[in-house]
C-alpha cells in the first residue's frame, strides 16, 4: 500500500491515506464505509461504522429496529448526509455523486412507498427512463418470476405485491450494486425463496448485494458476510458459518406415554438446552425450551418418543444473535 503513489486529496493539498486505500482496492471493493457518523439532533444514529463489501459478494446487515440499518443505507445512497466519515461506492464518493453512480445502483427502501395512480408497468417505465437502459423483456421476466401483475394499478396491489414491484425496480437495470433494505418484508415464503434466487444469480453475475434483514435464515442463505449492528455500532462482522453456530431456536414439543420427569431426563442433558420447562399433560408430557445446540443429538434423543407435536421455531435475530453478541462476557 505504501508503495502506491499518494494522490493528492482535492482541495487540501495533503495526501490522504484513505484515498490511497481506495486506489488500491477500488477495483475489488464495492462499498467502503469509513467511520460513518450520523446525528439526528441529539440522537446518535450511527456511531463510527466502518465496513468493506468486496465486489461480487452478498453482505448482510442485521440488527434490531433502530440499530441504524436503514440509516446506513440511506447514507450510502446520499439521501441523508453524514455528520462525519465517508462512504465510497464502486470507487466513487457517495456524497453528491452524479447520476452515473446511481445508474449503477439499485435501491429498495425499507419503507417502500410507490405512486398509487398508475399501473406497475407505467411506474417501472418511469424509473427505467431515469436509471435505464433496461433490457427489453427484463421487467416482464422479473415480474413473471415473482408472480406480479404489471397491469394492475399500484394502489390496488397488496403489500407483498408492492414489495415485488420494488424488487423489480431495483433489479431491472442490472446494477453493479444492489442496496436492499428488508427486501423480503411482506413476501410469502415461496417468493422469499425466489427473491433469494435472484440475489444469488446477481452475485454469480458479478453484482454486489448489500442487504438488511430481520430473518436469520434468509441472511444465512444469501449472505457471504454479515455485520451485526446495534445502537449505531457494528458489533461484529462474521462469516455466515459463525452465525449459524450461534443461532438458537424456540422448542415446543409434546409426547404421550411418558412423565414430565422422563421427558426432562431426555432433554436436560443436551448441550445448549436452556429454559427447559416440562409439564405433565393428560396423556403424557410437554416441554418448552430455548435450544442453541447441535440438531443431531437432539433428534436422536427424541427419536424413540411418541411425539404428538414438535415445533422448532426460529427466533428473530434480536433475540438470538444479538443476545449472544451484546454480552460477550456473560458465561
Amino acid at each position: 500500500m505504501r508503495a502506491q503513489p499518494a494522490r493528492l486529496w482535492p482541495g487540501t493539498g495533503l495526501p490522504r491515506l484513505s484515498t490511497v486505500t481506495t486506489l488500491r482496492t477500488s477495483s475489488d471493493t464495492a462499498v467502503e464505509a469509513i467511520q460513518l457518523v450520523k446525528r439526528f439532533g441529539s440522537t446518535l444514529a450511527l456511531d463510527g461504522v466502518s465496513f468493506t463489501v468486496p465486489r461480487g459478494s452478498v453482505f448482510g446487515v442485521i440488527g434490531p429496529n433502530g440499530a441504524g440499518k436503514t440509516t446506513i443505507m440511506r447514507a450510502l445512497l446520499d439521501l441523508i448526509r453524514l455528520t462525519s466519515g465517508r462512504a465510497t461506492l464502486l470507487g466513487t464518493d457517495s456524497r453528491n455523486a452524479g447520476p452515473e453512480l446511481r445508474r449503477r445502483i439499485g435501491f429498495l427502501p425499507g419503507e417502500l412507498i410507490l405512486e398509487g395512480r398508475v399501473t406497475g408497468r407505467r411506474l417501472l417505465r418511469h424509473y427505467a427512463n431515469i436509471s435505464g437502459p433496461v433490457r427489453t423483456g427484463r421487467v416482464e421476466e422479473l415480474a413473471d418470476r415473482l408472480g406480479l401483475d404489471l397491469d394492475r394499478t399500484v394502489r390496488t396491489l397488496s403489500k407483498g405485491n408492492k414489495q415485488k414491484l420494488g424488487i423489480v425496480q431495483a433489479f431491472m437495470h442490472q446494477p453493479d450494486l444492489l442496496v436492499l433494505d428488508e427486501p423480503t418484508s411482506g413476501l410469502d415464503p415461496l417468493m422469499q425463496q425466489e427473491f433469494l434466487a435472484l440475489v444469488s444469480e446477481a452475485r454469480d453475475a458479478g453484482q454486489t448485494v448489500f442487504l438488511s434483514s430481520h430473518v436469520i435464515s434468509e441472511i444465512q442463505q444469501a449472505a457471504d458476510e454479515v455485520a451485526i449492528l446495534r445502537d449505531g455500532r457494528i458489533i461484529t462482522v462474521a462469516g455466515v458459518e459463525a452465525l449459524r453456530d450461534t443461532a438458537i431456536r424456540h422448542l415446543r414439543m409434546s409426547a404421550t406415554g411418558l412423565s414430565a420427569a422422563e421427558l426432562e431426563g431426555r432433554l436436560v442433558t443436551l448441550a445448549g438446552m436452556a429454559e427447559l420447562d416440562c409439564r405433565a399433560t393428560a396423556t403424557g408430557a410437554e416441554a418448552t425450551a430455548v435450544f442453541g445446540g447441535a440438531i443431531t443429538p437432539f433428534v436422536q434423543a427424541i427419536a424413540t418418543l411418541n411425539l404428538t407435536d414438535l415445533v422448532m421455531e426460529e427466533p428473530d435475530l434480536e433475540e438470538s444473535v444479538l443476545r449472544l453478541y451484546s454480552t460477550p462476557e456473560a458465561p
Binding site: 440511506r74 446520499d78 441523508i80 427502501p109 412507498i113 431515469i130 453475475a205
Partner: protein
Amino acid sequence: MAATQARLATQQRPLVRRTVLPMFTKSLVDSWRSLVGWSVGFTAALSLYLPIYPSMSGSSQMQDLIDSLPTELTRTLNYQQIDTGAGYTQSTFFGLMGFLLISIAAISWGAAAIGGDEESGQLELTLAHAVTRVEVVAQRFAALAVKILALALVAFVVVLFWNGPAELDIDVANLVETCLLFGGLALVCGSAALLCGAITGRRIWGIGGGAAVAVLGYVFNAIANQSADLEWLHDLSPYYAAFGNSPLANGTDGWTLALFYLAALVLGALAALTLRQRDVGV
C-alpha cells in the same frame, strides 16, 4: 439458472428508450387531468363574466350601483374602471376570479412538486435513481412553469374569443402582456410554494408559503388602495406590481415582465440549492 445467465451474457441488449427529461415529462403527464379541469374552470368563469359586459357598460343603473357601494369596497375590488372593457375584464377576471383560480392551481402544483412528494415518501426512491436533486427540482419547476403558462394561454384564448362578441375592445398586444403578467404572478406564488415545500419537506408549508405570497400581495394592494399614507404597501405587493398599472388598458414594460419570471427562477434555484444541502425523508 445457468441457462439464464448464459442468456443474459450473450443476448444482445436492445434498450428501453430513455426519455430526455423524465421528471419533466412525468410531471406534465401526471397532471393533464388537473390541467384540463382548471382550463374548464377558466373558460367557465370567463364565459360567465365577459358576455354580460355590454349590458353593464351602457347601463347607468350599474354605475349607480357601483357608486352606491362603499368606496373601500370598490377600491379593494378595483371596480373604479369597470366602465371600460379592459377595466371590466381586469377587475372581474385577472384581478379577482382568475387570480384566485390560477393561484390555487399554481400553489397546489408547487407545494406537491417537492414537499408533497417527499412527505408521501416517493421522493426518496426517485432520488435513489440516476438523477441529481438539482435536476429533479429544475425539471419539476419547468413543468410547473409550463402548466401555469398553459392556463395563461387558455385565459388569452378565451378573452380573445369574447373580445368581439362582448364588445370589450381590448388591445391584443395588451392582452398578451397581461396574460404573461398573470402567469408570471402565479408562477411566483407557485415557486414560493415549491421553495417552502423544498425547505420543509412538507406539502402544507408549501401551500402556506405560496398562499402567503398570493394573499398578502392581494391584501397589501387592497389596503394601499385605501389611502395615500399606506401607499408604500404597494411596493410589497407582487399583485400590485403585476396589475397596479392596469396592463390590460395600458400594457406593461419588458422589465416588469422579466422581473416576475426572474423572481420565479430565483425561488426555483433556491429550492434546488436547499434540497441539495439537506437530508431527505427524515
